[in-house]
Amino acid sequence: MGLIHAEEMTLNIGPQHPSTHGVLRLKVKTDGEIISEITPVIGYLHRCFEKHCENLSYEQVIPFTDRCDYIAAMNNSFGYVLAVEKLMEIQVPERVEYIRVIMAEYNRIASHLLALGTFGLDVGAYTPFLYMFRDRERILDLFELTCGARLLYNYMWIGGVSHDLPVGFMEASYRFLDEFEKNITEYHNILSYNKIFIERSADVGTMPKEVAIDYGVTGPNLRGSGVKWDLRKDEPYSIYDKFIFNVPVGKGLMGSVGDCWDRYWVRAEEMKESVNIIRQALDKMPRKGDVHEALPKKVRPLKGSIYYRTESPRGDLGYYIISDGSSTPLRVKMRSPAFTALSALSEIATGWMLSDVLVILGSLDIVLGEIDR
């Protein structure tokens, strides 16, 4: 049978596809059902973020950082704001630090809920998506309570936050957190230990530790491969050193270390850790304090540059800001974690079947707004 030569067919899992999580195109060479070569083509959502940063002042850039990673907008602007404050050596009051950590962690839970829900969709389970969006809506209500917006908040300002916490926020949070803890175990029962889900995602698309580090993959994808690296723990920024939480690392419970199931499991466990952080933050938060206290009159950092990293739900979100003393930055470069995660896709997904490749893509949890910037 070796004489008969089988050609390969080139397919486009193109910009418009239900499971590419946005406008990503995968040029795929298939031999029957097996993928022999994948080249991701991106740029369909390149919205010139860095060009905007060179023409807008520092505080005008904040809404654009929200729109880069639109699923975790709080974490994005949190990273940018911290970078500029470090550049200007602004010391933010205690209460603002706590509010920012609470908002960032809530946004992490909301982003992970969306990631797990759509990953369930990729594997073919429709109902967990609806369960998880029901809880995500509850978190969006809390955001709406504080800053009026559901998805893109422009909440983090340089030196403070836009609104103080409203009156009913604390009780609503406690009520939500108690119910949400029970829901996480419910999600584990529906999806994580579901036989078909394990069959489809365990041992599939394993990413060894060396490949992950070499490609610069960070965040839950890296922790899924067994590397214990979390910026909140290893390079504590803001007030993360005041909280006690552990960092879940992939242990290969259902398959090998670093497979799709592990990345999914790490995200599910991280949600529990975020709930702990929020609880501790809500207890220890100083009740009084004006949030607009440290707002600078003119945002005009002195000449210099800084590379500041924070832990976004997708990984190491880095901002490289160069200021030339004027009120508009000379250059802002956003190091996007999903960008490097996607660059590892062609390495770990060759040789799998077409349907497995989409499961691997879903487990990497990429957002195209952040990749194309």
């Binding site: 910009p15 418009q16 029957g32 041992d203 497979d259 770990i348 060759t350 040789g351």
Partner: protein
């Protein structure tokens, strides 16, 4: 006897009518504005590269052949099963011989590995895909 044929004929008529009605209704009512772009093949918004008339892997042909063989085998079993009661032991022995021959064929095909539908070429396979990992080039 003839009444039965009548009902079958009636079924055929109703089936045909329903089928044609469904197709015609759609053809009549829907606005048809064919254009070159509309008739081009849909590939997620991209122009199509290459063609789908490629030489497929041979294993699909072999699998199809094996399926047809065992499908026809079941075909022979149906009439036999209907009149099985009044044929007695002789028919039973004949049928078991027939089945045995085919089972030998199945074992041969299974051992030869033609039933392996999928030939993975995984780069970092672990766990159940361990043996499929390509030798580290």
């Amino acid at each position: 006897m003839y009444r039965d044929f009548g009902t079958i004929f009636l079924f055929i008529i109703i089936g045909a009518v329903l089928l044609i009605a469904a197709l015609l209704l759609a053809k009549i009512l829907s606005p048809a504005r064919p254009s070159k772009n509309k008739l081009s093949t849909y590939e997620c918004g991209e122009e199509v590269e290459g063609s789908s008339w490629v030489q497929f892997n041979i294993r699909y042909y072999v699998i199809a052949l094996i399926f047809i063989i065992f499908d026809v085998e079941v075909l022979f079993l149906f009439p036999w099963a209907v009149v099985y009661k009044d044929l007695g032991w002789l028919a039973f022995i004949e049928m078991t011989i027939f089945l045995l021959i085919l089972i030998v064929g199945l074992i041969y095909v299974w051992k030869k590995g033609d039933l392996d539908w999928v030939k993975y070429k995984v780069k970092y396979g672990q766990g159940r895909y361990q043996k499929l990992t390509k030798e580290k080039a």
